[in-house]
């Protein structure tokens, strides 16, 4: 079993952190994982990607991910990018941070989920430098649809990363997203 996830976000949104936390949660579950940042000009606001690779066996490949099983989009606006679904498996999953019902060109066999991570973040007061922090919420969402990593593991890894209140809030964000994710047509 090997499972590959691509995260899309914008510089400053914590995309690499999300990919790494997911990898840590996988290890916490007794699985193997990798978190792979793609290094470009990670300017604030610029589109950024990162990857997580999860397997039940030690992972020895280090090449890049071309055909992810899932795509996580931290900012709805990124759906405008032509490249956003590039390579997604025909039975792949898309998880988008969105408040709306998405009209989005995809292959019928692919499934699309949305969760309003922004409103979760705002509700919890998770705001840094004017930006809602949505990466942890998105982890809760992906945990739900991946179904190989428990939300508890995600919460645990988040709490290990940020001690105290920050940890609590962020893990709660993940939990709320986990509970509120919806599948769209």
């Amino acid at each position: 079993m090997i499972y590959e996830i691509r995260f899309h976000g914008r510089g400053g949104q914590g995309v690499v952190t999300a990919a790494t936390l997911l990898a840590e949660a996988a290890v916490f579950e007794g699985l193997w994982s990798q978190a792979i940042p793609f290094f470009g000009a990670e300017r604030r606001g610029a589109p950024v990607v990162a990857f997580t690779r999860i397997s039940n066996k030690p992972i020895r490949i280090y090449s890049q991910i071309y055909n992810p099983d899932a795509i996580v989009v931290l900012d709805e606006k990124l759906l405008q990018l032509r490249s956003i679904l590039q390579g997604l498996k025909s039975n792949g999953i898309i998880v988008v941070n969105s408040s709306e019902k998405l009209k989005f060109p995809k292959i019928p066999s692919q499934r699309i989920f949305t969760v309003n991570a922004t409103s979760i973040a705002l509700k919890l007061g998770l705001v840094v430098a004017g930006w809602p922090v949505v990466n942890t919420a998105m982890l809760g969402a992906i945990a739900r649809v991946l179904n190989i990593i428990s939300i508890e593991s995600i919460e645990e890894c988040i709490r290990r990363k940020w001690r105290g209140e920050m940890g609590e809030k962020n893990s709660l964000a993940a939990r709320l997203a986990y509970e509120n994710i919806r599948e769209r047509d």
Binding site: A23, E24, V27, S33, F39, R60, I61, Y62, S63
Partner: protein, 393 residues
Amino acid sequence: MERVAVLSGNHAVAHAVKLCRPHVIAAYPITPQTQIVEKLAEFVERGELKAKYIRVESEHSAMAAIIGASAAGARVFTATSSQGLLYMHEAIWSAAGARLPIVMAVVTRAIFPPWNIWTDHSDILAQRDTGWIIAMAESNQEVFDMIIQAYRIAEDERVLLPVMIGLDAFSLSHTAAPVSLLDQDKVDKFLPPRRAFSFLLDIENPITMGNVAFPDHYMEFRYLIQKAMERAKQVIREVEEEFYEISSRKYGGLVEEYRCNDADVILVLMGAWSGDAKECADKLREEGLRVGVLRIRFIRPLPIEEIKRVSLGRKAVIVVDRDISFGGTGILFTEVSSILQQNSVTVRGFIAGLGGRDVTAKDFAQMVKQVYTDLEVGERRSRVEWYGVKEVI
């Protein structure tokens, strides 16, 4: 059991170094090595590592500073990459000539111009003449393990040479993966404090290091470096055995052999993409092609015997270089085929993946299949070609 942490290759280096209790660290930032020096600076500032951290103004000075510290008896560390490695080239020679047991991590990266920060082995391999022991890791775990072993190898009295541990830019340096850590007391037992030798800087024993040696003396010092390199082969194997005792991990000494025993074709390479090559070997074996992987862990000292032994009687040896010696050819290819002189085995070289161009198991499979096809039509000539170059740019 020790804790498993999900660490980038860079952080794996930093954690391993911390466990080795270096006295002096001097480093200069360069992408993609920065996380190493940042993490170590943090360890030191937060009091988690009792060491002096010198925030030098260049890599030339980084190496110079740890040469000084090592000559004064300290255990030392630095890390760099690409341009930084090239900028300290003169000092690199100096460290080896002075026989100082320095350990350095090198995040392998392409060379300017144009700017490119992705992996490429040309930088580390361009240092292969300098008298340093040079190794490349395949995984973050191995980076961690190699750093700790490096000190034992470097400080062994039979060796006394500096050691460079390479890790691929981004594919290892920035990719986070699970790493089994080791407890401090185990590492302390494995790696005792550095012993003082009589050739160190010491006011009670005033000696001069490195003054002029005329032609009637110089050559012997060079010879002694070469002798130490030869002895290092055995030391590397012994140290790995001992490390196995505390970690239950070993990789195979100077090289790692993966499914080579019954292989017709052997892929020879080093670094992170070796894992993809192994994946390729497994896949091709499912298709009935008996492929093995010979991963070069140490390129200096050169594993001559191992390469010879493993290559013996194969249909072909395929060397994949992530580097190029311009006007010559792939550096591994040159070394391997030199070892296989007087041998009729087909040695096929591919130059691939320069400047971080991704190479996957599929790509390796394509190389292997091409060689098989050629062999079938009786084309057995050794040669090198470039893989995956776009014709027009």
